[in-house]
């Protein structure tokens, strides 16, 4: 059920250009985390570093007792079997049809017979809504279908860690919503650790347990969703509310004079919108890794803004949660919160 990833002091540069430095965070086992950041802050580079496709200059990525950047090649390939990765445009093999693409990891790494392979592939294709498109080539389908096929391929080996690069790019809002729901459902079903790289705030507001924000070569903040959504930190506040007012400028950052001018014009971010409730698995399951709503805030003495855990129907999920868990008959999920203690990660 999911694997914890501990990142310590990770630094990456291309030539003289530092992409990010001293990034430390812990992706808690079985939880969904989202990494946000303006375009070009190296979110995808971070994701690729996590699977060992790019070697960081310094720092460690601990998966269990294995330090990924320093593993010998053989162990690295072995460790990668824990991962499923959905690349930005699916990264399907252009010479194979969708069925073969999705069956590829099974044929490579398992000794399953062709009928078993077919059963698993069809199951995953149904999951992502691609039944009937088995014989299409990646060149013949739309971007959204490629992405879903890529997700199916990432899922066939039942990964412990799923990394998703911009699930929303090039998708319409409805399909994005479906895909987000699918991610939450998947997490409930397989309990894998998820990291989603995106700059879609709706995704960030509704899907994850934790949010991280990269800006200007630094990890500005990483912590539970509610903490970042109610954060007073200007960069976090600006980004999560998609305002022009704040330290993030069009190209990179704004200087002091621009910020002062903004303040004079009264462009500061006003009252924050209430924190949207987290997506629940669509068939009402409790996600195995999920901490109870408000647990982190309670443990750290943070008062969530009014309306934080209230959904459309006016239910307060902090109060609703134990009842919900009980009604689902999951005792383990309630226990997982460990009396309001947020699983490792916390803020930097």
């Amino acid at each position: 059920m999911g694997v914890e990833i501990r990142v310590e002091g990770l630094t990456k540069s291309f030539g003289r250009q530092t992409i990010w430095q001293d990034v430390s965070l812990t992706l808690p086992a079985g939880e969904i985390s989202v990494l946000l950041g303006p375009s070009g802050t190296g979110k995808s580079v971070f994701l690729k570093s996590l699977v060992g496709l790019l070697k960081p200059d310094r720092g460690h990525i601990w998966i269990g007792d294995r330090d990924l950047p320093y593993l010998p090649e053989r162990d690295l390939y072995e460790t990668r079997k824990l991962f499923g990765v959905l690349f930005q445009d699916g990264a399907l093999f252009g010479s194979m049809n969708l069925y073969d693409n999705i069956a590829f990891p099974l044929r490579e790494h398992t000794k399953k017979g062709e009928s078993e392979v077919k059963r698993i592939v069809m199951e995953k294709m149904e999951l992502v809504g691609l039944l009937g498109a088995e014989h299409k080539l990646p060149g013949e389908i739309s971007g959204g279908m490629k992405k879903r096929a890529g997700l199916a391929r990432a899922l066939v080996l039942d990964p412990e860690i799923l990394l998703v690069d911009e699930p929303d790019s090039g998708l319409d809002p409805v399909r994005t919503a479906y895909l987000n729901q699918l991610i939450v459902d998947l997490n409930a079903e397989i309990g894998a650790t998820f990291l989603i790289v995106t700059h879609d705030i709706n995704t960030a507001r509704t899907v994850p347990d934790n949010i991280g924000l990269l800006f200007l070569r630094e990890l500005v903040m990483f912590g539970p969703r509610e903490m970042l959504l109610s954060s007073e930190e200007p960069v976090v506040r600006q980004f999560l509310n998609a305002r022009r007012a704040g330290p993030i400028g069009m190209s990179e950052e704004k200087d002091m004079s621009e910020l002062e001018a903004e303040a004079k014009m009264g462009m500061e971010v006003g009252k924050l919108p209430p924190i949207a409730p987290q997506l629940m698995p669509s068939d009402g399951r409790v996600r195995p890794g999920q901490a109870p709503p408000g647990a982190w805030c309670a443990a750290h003495g943070v008062t969530p803004p009014p309306g934080s855990f209230v959904d459309d129907l006016g239910r307060n999920w902090v109060e609703e949660w134990p009842r919900y868990v009980a009604s689902m008959g999951h005792s383990s999920a309630a226990g997982h919160g460990q009396g309001g203690q947020q699983p490792a990660g916390g803020a930097r």
Binding site: G15, T18, K48, V51, L53, E73, Y77, E78, R80, K81, F83, V85, F87, Q88, D89, A91, L92, F93, G94, F104, P105, E108, H109, G150, R153, F215, L216, R217, E218, V220, M221, S231, E233, V235, V236, P247, E252, E253, A347, R348
Partner: protein
């Protein structure tokens, strides 16, 4: 928790760069060409040879690639070999007639074509047709993130893609070399007999007067080495393609240029060594 004054240090860093930027860019470029690129290429070569002995060998890919290389090279090879043989026999035939050694036209044509011309034509085709196609294929996979996806799925792209391509290229180069020899000789024969009024008997009788079996073997050895080299350069450039479709175009361009240069140098080295170690046949 928060990071106050984010970016202040970076802002200063950026200002101090200034003056020597152009110089630094040139020196960066020079180190890149002189040290980094050859170093990385060498690393890829070592990794590829290591991957060559990994089980299981990708027979399917090997056969598909071999067939693909045949399909892009056979016709151009023949079309290049015919005029090549013709030109050689025109040049050499004229010279030989002036020396009064018409009876040796066949012998000179065989030596020129088998020893030198056919490895050269093979190298042109292997680099220009096979290498460029291979680089375009691997490069486009790279920019579509297929290579990354493959690595993430726990599969070594060197083992899966590069080794079968490299060996297919070398394998087919052996046959291409043979093809060029045969077609070139036929072309030479036709030109000699039809255009230069040579006698068929003289051409055929002196066939093995100077040439010997090691000539053919060294040519085949050259072709094999050319195939390996072309495959490796194409793989290296393809795997390092970046920056979208234009990046693939650049990689293909560089592959062809670099492969040509390397193959001509290799040809020179192998020929020199050959003449040092294998005595010419006495007449």
């Amino acid at each position: 928790m928060s990071t106050p004054g984010i970016g202040a240090d970076q802002r200063e860093g950026r200002k101090s760069g200034g003056g020597n930027a152009a110089l630094r860019k040139i020196s960066d470029g020079a180190t890149n060409v002189a040290i980094k690129e050859p170093g990385r290429f060498f690393a890829l070569v070592l990794d590829t040879f290591r991957a060559m002995f990994q089980w299981p060998f990708q027979w399917r890919e090997f056969i598909q690639q071999a067939w693909f290389i045949v399909s892009v090279t056979v016709v151009p090879t023949m079309l290049v070999a015919i005029p090549f043989g013709g030109v050689l026999s025109l040049q050499v035939g004229g010279l030989i007639r002036q020396l009064g050694a018409q009876s040796y036209t066949g012998a000179t044509a065989v030596v020129a074509i088998v020893r030198e011309a056919s490895p050269l034509v093979t190298s042109l085709l292997v680099a220009g047709a096979a290498g460029s196609a291979m680089c375009a294929d691997i490069g486009s996979r790279k920019i579509r993130e297929e290579i990354d996806a493959m690595e993430v799925l726990g599969i070594n792209p060197l083992h899966r893609l590069v080794v079968p391509r490299m060996l297919a290229c070398a394998f087919i180069a052996l046959f291409l070399n043979g093809l060029v020899s045969v077609v070139g000789l036929i072309g030479g024969y036709v030109f000699n007999v039809v255009l230069q009024d040579g006698t068929p008997g003289a051409y055929l009788a002196s066939f093995n007067a100077i040439a010997q079996l090691p000539d053919l073997l060294q040519a085949e050895f050259k072709a094999f080495v050319f195939g390996i080299t072309a495959g490796l350069v194409a793989a290296y450039k393809g795997l390092n393609a970046k920056g979208g479709p234009k990046g693939v175009g650049d990689a293909v361009n560089q592959t062809v240029v670099i492969t040509f240069m390397l193959l001509f140098v290799e040809n020179f080295i192998i020929s020199t060594l050959y003449f040092q170690f294998v005595p010419s046949k006495g007449m």
